[in-house]
């Protein structure tokens, strides 16, 4: 794709015009190889013959004849005693809280007939601000995971709760009486009441110690600041991140994304905001955050501490502080970042993804120099997302190995999988007399213990959370326990010999203290949150800079030729706790667009140096341990590094996760007392010669050399001209040049009632993909699995197109060659554009896709005969052909081929059968429901009342949906402001008049001098 000045590409293969890429470029459906080329004919779907046709025909006719004889008897089974607040077919919403390890979100749970089917953000929470990550969206499917433990087990055999409790209490009593050590191993606990329960347990068994660790530890950050501070990016004018993927995976990404987006929203209205924050990213891998930065450059993990020190020195030089005596390191844009940080003093923020206390200390000192504390960083209102202590956990494992532990309880923690010393722990576990796990599955850790006392899913549980000091929220059950599970808190109470093991009552009692009689319990339960307000403090942490500098000088090197390993967290998968969730497995990673595996990512130069090829398996060996993974060439990654994500390589998580990818946790090392997510010791990669294809969606549905699919500009030009960066296609006609949108064969539609539309702001879309999961949950979008993604048959109704580009002009061939070193990135959510001159509608031979009087492009599955002409004719490639009966076929074993998994389906949306086309309906079920609500109340729908799933779930509000016929609606006003401005339709030159407008991306950077020159020449 070429813009007027830029060249965009979706992957290296497109940039290089790879043979493979060219082969598929003009194939609409990327048809799979024929049956004889590939085993597993079920995935073929193309091999029907004349005889098969006759067979099917004969069968069909006899089926029809049989159907005519007798109608199947269908039962309708009402409640015996209908709960007062449940009305079948009407959804109930409950406020609750999603907590998974240190991840937090206040949520609203939609239930139908008593079963949760959708999770949405709770806007009443000022902490999570109604944002939800893809993982929180997907957690509803984890509830219906059929592979969870179905009840308590002893030694892998099902047992009764009463017997198990008796034995555990006896065991604990014996350990306590002999003075044996008891440990409770857990991830960060956000719940004050749960901590109280553990306190009760410790009171009963005083030799108990709680060992808290986090798979994605932030112990270094906590050590440097004393607490985990609150960050507020919304107050920042200059944001500098040293390897912190704060929009994708670092600490609380969706909250940060919401704050960040507030500083990135510009308006073309006359008095609209035209100021933006400037975002610098220095990192090793190409992270989701780096992709959204204005300036980005790379460093190797072994340089990390020195980069932080260099930034400190650069800032110190400007504000007159003493410099640190460490080796200098050269990183592009670092000086510029320092200048901006100082210039916007008091509205600057520096974050670092490092887990080294020394590095974090230097960053904290830099933050203090630029006046971040009290404005963008607040130590007075600490957050509780990461409470883990790497030292405690290390000590525990050593003790366990030494046989000093008598009893251990794993409280929903899986260290055998997600701790670097997991293998050691696995070996040590048999030495411990009493081992208990409350994990919901017999996972890597829980399968090694004697007693499994599975905890209930959070949607089946009572709980509370204090994500941030003074900010509380409640979890309430939205379904009764599916299996014979019991809340871990009740288990602890039982074992501690409490009078009552009823945690709900315990919780309520402990809350009377928090509420102090001022607010009613039921009110808080209804709202989901209770907030006492922040106590902002301008205090800066006490940092011993000299010590930190000395440690950094010793640990890090200014330059290194050796290959280094970076370990990172994927935006969708996270730490791997929900790895058995097929929605998350199939979610393409925002940058690499790869799903269903992790991989060894290398830059193009390193790949060439090491003779590595995409999709070829390599053996990655680090300090004696090795794993096998395919290679993925990642533009923008630091040269001389390989990167592997955590969260994969599960062995006992379930069908969707086991054997998918490889586990990178064992490569995590300990540096300066905390876990370090990189490894610089003897990293080597060796090709195994096997070809392992990565299911990667980046080049599916190419844009076929169409122009200006994405449009962008820089802030300085935008300030001068709000239409900067806009591409306005003109077409030569007999009457001279005409604007493309003025020429049409059609008369257009008339919308008397509503005109639904959408505006997507490319400036605030971070590519986080929460909308993709949300859409799948709302619209019963099937999961197709790795092989089918490779076959280019993924079913997502909304995809996030990621384009790379560079400043090199189109003619600058040499420039383009190096373009992939550090490209710019644009994310563009792509879904059915609901064209007013829809090309799909005109080619359907059976009128299965038609236009509504409300501006929707309707898809009628029961009328569709599957010619796929519409998909051929769709310029946006958003139509999906349904190849199989994904919800009934055992080959698609992704939770949905069993009754439990199917409970997640939205009953208001048809489950499509095979042989039909499907696509985004603009959540027509929600539109219809919203209209009906309004009609029942004899009024027009209120703006914002009807919300589509993707817009609802967008953490940055990049998607605005509404009625364009309502002049007061947000979308109408936004379009009015941007009509002469940033709003454009994708591929305007073909004038299909989409109902979805995009807003030009604006980067807050200066145009390179070279480039400006080139343009001047062009114009001359």
């Amino acid at each position: 794709m070429e813009n007027t000045t830029k060249r965009y590409w979706r992957g290296i293969e497109e940039l290089k015009n790879d043979a493979e890429f060219v082969k598929y470029a003009d194939r609409e459906f990327g048809d799979a190889p024929s049956a004889d080329e590939k085993e597993g004919a079920i995935f073929d779907g193309t091999g029907s013959h004349r005889r098969d046709f006759l067979k099917v025909l004969g069968f069909g006719m006899s089926a029809v004849a049989l159907a005519a004889c007798e109608a199947p008897v269908k039962n309708t089974i009402p409640y015996l005693n209908k709960p007062e607040d449940v009305e079948p077919t009407i959804a109930n919403w409950y406020a609750s809280t999603f907590v998974d390890g240190g991840e937090y979100a206040s949520v609203l749970v939609k239930t139908r007939e008593g079963r949760p089917i959708k999770i949405e953000g709770n806007k009443a929470s000022s902490v999570s601000q109604g944002t939800l990550s893809g993982r929180a969206q997907a957690s509803v499917l984890s509830l219906y995971d059929n592979e969870k433990l179905k009840g308590p087990q002893k030694g892998g055999q099902a047992a009764e709760w009463a017997t198990i409790d008796k034995e555990i209490v006896a065991g604990l009593a014996q350990v306590a009486s002999s003075g044996g050590q008891i440990r409770i191993v857990t991830n960060s606990i956000l719940s004050p009441s749960t901590k109280k329960v553990l306190g009760d347990f410790i009171a009963k068994y005083p030799t108990t110690k709680v060992v808290t660790y986090d798979a994605n530890s932030a112990a270094g950050l906590v050590a440097a600041n004393g607490v985990l501070p609150s960050f507020d990016f919304s107050k920042a004018k200059t944001i500098v991140s040293l390897g912190a993927d704060f929009l994708g995976s670092w600490i609380a990404p969706t909250e940060f994304a919401a704050q960040w987006a507030k500083t990135r929203r510009v308006s073309s209205a006359k008095d609209g905001n035209k100021e933006m924050s400037r975002h610098y990213q220095f990192e090793t891998i190409m992270s989701n955050t780096g992709a959204n930065a204005d300036y980005r450059s790379t460093y190797k993990p072994s340089q990390e501490g020195l980069v932080a020190a260099a930034l400190y020195n650069a800032v110190a030089a400007k504000v007159g502080a003493t410099a640190l005596s460490v080796a200098g390191v050269k990183v592009e844009y670092l000086e510029k970042a320092a200048a901006d940080l100082v210039a916007t003093k008091g509205a600057s923020i520096i974050v670092s993804g490092s887990n080294d206390p020394a590095v974090q200390s230097i960053v904290a000192a830099t933050n203090a120099l630029v006046g971040a504390y009290g404005t963008t960083i607040d130590l007075g209102t600490p957050v509780n997302y990461r409470q883990g202590s790497d030292a405690d956990m290390n000590a525990f494992i050593s003790e366990a190995k030494a046989g000093q532990i008598a009893a251990v309880i794993f409280y929903n923690a899986n260290p055998v999988y997600n701790h670097p010393r997991g293998a050691e722990l696995a070996e040590a576990l048999p030495k411990i007399g009493l081992t208990i796990a409350t994990n919901e599955k017999a996972d890597e850790t829980a399968s090694l213990v004697k007693y499994n006392t599975p905890d209930s899913h959070y949607l089946e549980s009572w709980n509370d959370a204090e994500p941030k000091k003074g900010f509380y929220s409640l979890t309430q059950p939205t379904i009764s326990t599916i299996f014979k599970t019991r809340q871990a808190q009740s288990s602890f109470l039982t074992w501690a010999g409490a009078a009552s093991a009823d945690y709900a009552a315990y919780l309520q009692a402990s809350w009377t203290g928090i509420l102090g009689g001022k607010v009613q319990w039921s009110q808080v339960l209804h709202d989901g949150v209770y907030e006492t307000g922040a106590s902002v403090s301008a205090a800066t942490p006490a940092v011993n800079l000299a010590d930190a500098a000395a440690v950094v000088a010793k640990t890090y090197k200014a330059s290194s030729e050796a290959l280094e390993l970076a370990i990172y967290e994927k935006v969708g998968m996270g730490t791997g706790s929900q790895a058995n969730n097929p929605w998350l497995q199939e979610l393409p990673e925002p940058i690499s667009k790869a799903c269903w595996t992790n991989y060894v990512a290398v830059s193009q130069k390193t790949a060439a140096d090491l003779k590595l090829e995409q999709d070829k398996e390599v053996e990655l060996t680090v300090a004696g341990k090795s794993i096998k993974l395919p290679v993925l060439v990642q533009p923008g990654q630091a040269n001389g590094t390989v990167a592997v994500s955590i969260g994969y390589g599960r062995t006992k998580a379930g069908k969707s996760a086991d054997g998918v990818g490889a586990n990178a946790y064992p490569f995590v090392t300990t540096v300066n007392g905390t876990l370090a997510f990189f490894n610089t010791a003897e990293v080597s990669v060796k090709a195994t010669g096997e070809e392992v294809k990565i299911a990667q969606t980046q080049t599916h549905n190419t844009v076929m050399a169409r122009e200006a699919v994405v449009q962008e500009t820089v802030l300085s030009e935008y300030k001068k001209n709000v239409e900067a960066g806009r591409f306005k296609p003109e077409i030569l006609t007999a009457e001279g040049k005409k604007t493309a949108t003025d020429i049409s064969l059609w008369n257009g539609h008339k919308y008397n009632n509503h005109a639904w539309g959408m505006v997507i702001d490319l400036n605030t879309c971070t590519g986080c993909s929460a909308c993709v999961v949300s859409c799948s949950a709302e619209n019963n979008v099937p999961v197709v699995g790795r092989q089918e993604v490779i076959n280019r048959r993924e079913m997502h109704w909304i995809r996030i197109d990621r384009y790379y580009s560079s400043d090199a002009s189109v003619e600058d061939l040499q420039g383009l060659e190096v373009a992939s070193e550090n490209p710019e990135v644009v994310f563009q959510p792509m879904l059915c554009q609901h064209c007013n001159n829809a090309p799909c509608e005109t080619v359907c031979p059976v009128l299965a896709t038609t236009h509504s009087t409300e501006g929707l492009n309707q898809m009628t599955y029961n009328r569709c005969i599957g010619t796929r002409y519409c998909a051929n004719n769709c310029p946006y490639k958003v139509r999906r052909f349904n190849w199989f009966r994904y919800y009934q076929t055992d080959e698609f074993d992704f939770h949905f081929n069993n009754d439990l998994g199917r409970m997640v389906l939205n009953p208001d949306v048809t489950v499509r059968s095979r042989g039909v086309m499907e696509k985004c309906s603009m959540c027509v079920q929600r539109i219809q429901a919203g209209k009906l609500e309004a009609k029942k109340e004899k009024r027009r729908p209120k703006d914002g009342e009807i919300q589509v799933a993707c817009a609802q779930s967008c953490p940055t509000n990049a998607i605005t949906f509404g009625d364009m016929n309502d002049p007061a609606s947000e979308i109408s006003q936004l379009l009015a402001a941007e009509k002469v401005g940033r709003a454009f339709g994708v591929i305007e030159e073909i004038n299909v008049k989409p109902s979805i407008s995009y807003l030009v991306k604006v980067r807050n950077k200066e145009r390179e001098a070279k480039k400006a020159e080139g343009e001047a020449k062009e114009h001359a």
Binding site: A71, N75, N81, P88, K935
Partner: protein
Amino acid sequence: MITMKRLKFVALTMLLGLFASVVSVNAQDVAEGEQIFKNNCAACHNTSAEPLVGPGLQGVSQRRPLDWIVKWVHNPQAVIASGDKYANELYNKFGKAQMTAYPNYSEAQIKSVLAYIDAQNAAPAAAPAAGGAAPAAAAPAESNGGMLQYILIALLGVMVLVLIALLSIVTTLTKLASLSPEEAAEVPLLERIAENAKKLAANSAFKTGAALLITLLIGKATIDAAYGVGIHQGYAPEQPIHFSHKLHAGNYQINCAYCHTGVYKGKGANVPSANICMNCHNVIKRESPEIQKIYKAIEKDEPIQWIRVHNLPDLAYFNHAQHTNVGGLECKNCHGEIEKMEVVQQRSTLTMGWCIDCHRKTDVNAKGNAYYDKLVEIHNSENKGPLKVANIGGLECSKCHY
């Protein structure tokens, strides 16, 4: 004679008008009372003297003082507990069944219910007349279609007869013209017919015609049968419990929404849960073997497996609230005269054609609903006829398929 008829009609209309104006003095109250009564009271009380679960309410406003009735409605338990003699007698007489308390109804609303009861008893004849108008209006449309078909068949029959007659006349005349009278007389009639039939059978044109006719008829029958696949009009399965709508909805006139709680609110009208049955049947006819089935279900904690009568395919979305609450349709528009059915049967075809047909014909219930104001205005500025459902997208795919 015509003038006589017209005069009578005018007189009748005037008389009715007079009557209506007398009634309409407190028509507002009565209407409100009727709604409250039907939604809340009708399940247990008749407006006549006949007792149901509770006593018949004819003359209750004379029987008891108003303040007592208000107290009673607000909290019957309290009135019984206060030792009120009448209340206790009543309580014992009706098997110690507790009446539901309605603390939220104002005195004015309770008065309106009483007004409705009195109105019902004062003009027993007026009610059925009003109620009967709707089905009468619906009936001709249906019978029209039937009649037309019969007329067509009859006409066809007559035409065939005429054809046969004409043919026989023609053959006889030809015979007479061509043969001498002796020959004609010699051959007996039966033989002649047999001979003619043989000749006809040998006629290739006739054979082709007959074959064509038979093929067409079979084809028509096949197509008709194919169109009938999946249509279960008249489907009346035997239910696990012999529940009679005729008794409940017909005789006792229990409002449909009393049991089908979702009908004005949600997508489904909902088959009532057993606890709704128990509102009355914890007192009434407990010993009946059919009612005992409900008791057994509750004891065993096994829900009753009713058989669905109206089955729409999963691909079609139908919402009751849209049609009843917003559209203002009566249940019988689609379900037929349920109140006359001992066993419920599917009255309508429930085909897409049937849906579409209704959407074409039906006026939008736009009056008083601000949602439609703009649409009506635009429609009226461009068209003369009333706003039909089809005019506002009622025929669009994604109104029902998504």
